[in-house]
Symmetry: C2
Subunit: 344 residues, 2 copies
């Protein structure tokens, strides 16, 4: 089969090292399902691996955590949808039974386990879920890792309800875009920030109620605090100064969920934390239950009158243009997910 | 009546300005109960007020949040225990109905509302609770503000169970001593730290399983992490470097509850937070429900075989020695509570 592989990694030139090659087809082991991939999606994780910014890298590897395709075959004893079924893959392997935290041995698809940037992949049958009928392959492929990360942060950890005012700093990344979609589906009021007016405009089209440019409005937290007394729930992946300011504007009794830290260490003022009785919660990826609940968001019950939720897709690159796709993710200029077309 | 009052405050000499004087007796208004105080207890809050380190100070004031005494009279329509009943006073006025957070108008006894450092005090009848029968006046007076702060932090917010390993940094303060008592009553394993071997010894006598001197063992977090894989629950009032190190040693899926910040701002590493999926929770004082649940800890059900919980009392000062008592709290050398004998 054809697959994208990394043979070398480098802090500077990492994204240029993705290569399309011919490799042996995977064979589904006992309890595994073989999926023929149609579309895969990039996550920052894939680029971080190419840059050596990930622990325990094993080379060569086939990256990719997100994939949609059709069931091709089942290994011995595998319980899964019949061959030909269109499916999406839960990228977390071996989470375990504890909703609160994964097993120390859990993995994400795409290094060391073979990833989705390949024509075929064998995964545990329980990781294979029928794709939401209302979504195209492109849309469904955009979902898995970003969708489950967003859902766990916003709902399973953050407990978002329709009464919340949700602050989403730095909208535009795959995950933050899903946070926006889920928060609006729940009926919460949503404030987004970005340094890009274009991203703010796209976020408004997806339902954001208030959009604030933190570059042109330096005291953005004043604008945020002015919305209904400030956010009751923040979903942050920045850390650093963004986290500090977000904590400052969070309402009494509010929650701040953190699933990333691109800006690094943050200052935390104990007084803000205890006087406002805040909850600050770390979140990462999601459990099998998180994944199933998240996926159900995309198939509204018939007759419910609910609009179909559409994942934001930035661009679909042919598999052979994987380097261009990786460079686009590295620059962070996208709004929504960057995809790879693996099959037709 | 005789009462302790502050007429002036000063950052340096604050504790020296407490004065015993003759003032008018309070008269219980509608719905209020008049309590004749036997014992009162100091909290750092009282010293902070004398040093001007509290917002909205009104002078002169009668400080004191903690008191035990007997019901002297009821105002119009007040529902409370009959006159002569020995009672402790819930120091939080007007918390409101939300367990998660107080009303913005809530107050703590002792500035601006008259405090317990006086022979009589009038408070809302619902703030008056029968004193635990198993405790002396000294012991009961030690409970209110420190006890409810500890209980809310450890139990209502932290959700402590017998399966937890609880880290209590800086044991010795009134609140941390109650955290230790409650955690041991629940059946958790408890690790305490202090810079004083004497305080560590006292903590062991109260049931602490592991006691670590953070002055003589600079890498104390290594010792802490070695206990059953590290704490699953931390109750911290320091902030600063203590908080940062405590987060580092907290187990995957663990909780860190913060109710103070004597060391000031802390560094928070987003990766530690989201990778370990931690909960960091602010806590302060407690709701009426917290107070009632906390007080019930001191009266074991008859025949339960449970030992009686005894609050740690450092020293009882005569009312006229209020300055010496305040200076002792200011130095922080005490283990457990510093009391004032108001009545016989």
């Amino acid at each position: 089969m054809r697959a994208v592989r990394l043979h070398e990694i480098d802090r500077e030139s990492g994204p240029q090292h993705f290569r399309v090659e011919q490799v042996d087809d995977p064979v589904p082991g006992p309890g595994e399902t073989l999926v023929k991939i149609a579309r895969a999606a990039f996550n920052r994780r894939d680029v971080f691996i190419s840059q050596g910014l990930y622990p325990g890298i094993q080379l060569p590897c086939i990256p990719g955590s997100d994939g949609v395709g059709t069931v091709a075959a089942h290994g011995e004893g595998a319980q899964g949808p019949p061959p030909g079924t269109r499916v999406v893959i839960d990228p977390t392997l071996g989470w375990g039974d504890d909703q609160r935290i994964w097993r120390r041995t859990a993995q994400v698809l795409g290094m060391p386990h073979q990833g989705t940037f390949a024509e075929y992949i064998a995964v545990p049958a329980e990781n294979v879920h029928p794709a939401p009928a209302s979504l195209s392959d492109d849309e469904a492929a955009a979902i898995p890792l970003a969708g489950v990360t967003a859902y766990r942060a916003l709902v399973s950890r953050g407990g978002c309800t329709k009464d919340d005012v949700v602050l989403i700093p730095g909208v535009g990344s795959g995950v933050q875009t899903f946070v926006l979609l889920f928060a609006k589906k729940i009926g919460a009021k949503v404030i987004v920030t970005s340094s890009s007016d274009e991203k703010l405009e796209r976020a408004k089209q997806l339902g954001a109620d208030v959009a604030i440019n933190y570059k042109t409005s330096e005291k953005w937290e004043k604008d945020v605090a002015a919305v209904d007394g400030g956010p009751s729930l923040v979903v942050d992946s920045a850390g650093g100064d963004t986290f500090f300011r977000a904590v400052n504007v969070t309402r009494y009794g509010g929650r701040v969920v953190v699933y990333g830290g691109t800006l690094g260490d943050a200052k935390l003022r104990p007084f803000s934390l205890f006087w406002k009785q805040l909850d600050i919660m770390g979140s990462s990826m999601g459990s099998p239950r998180d994944f199933a609940e998240m996926l159900a968001q995309f198939d509204p019950s018939p007759g419910s009158g609910q609009a179909t939720l559409k994942p934001a897709v930035d661009k679909v690159y042919p598999m052979d243009d994987v380097v261009a796709a990786a460079e686009s993710v590295d620059k962070g200029a996208q709004f929504g997910k960057v995809l790879l077309a693996i099959g037709p």
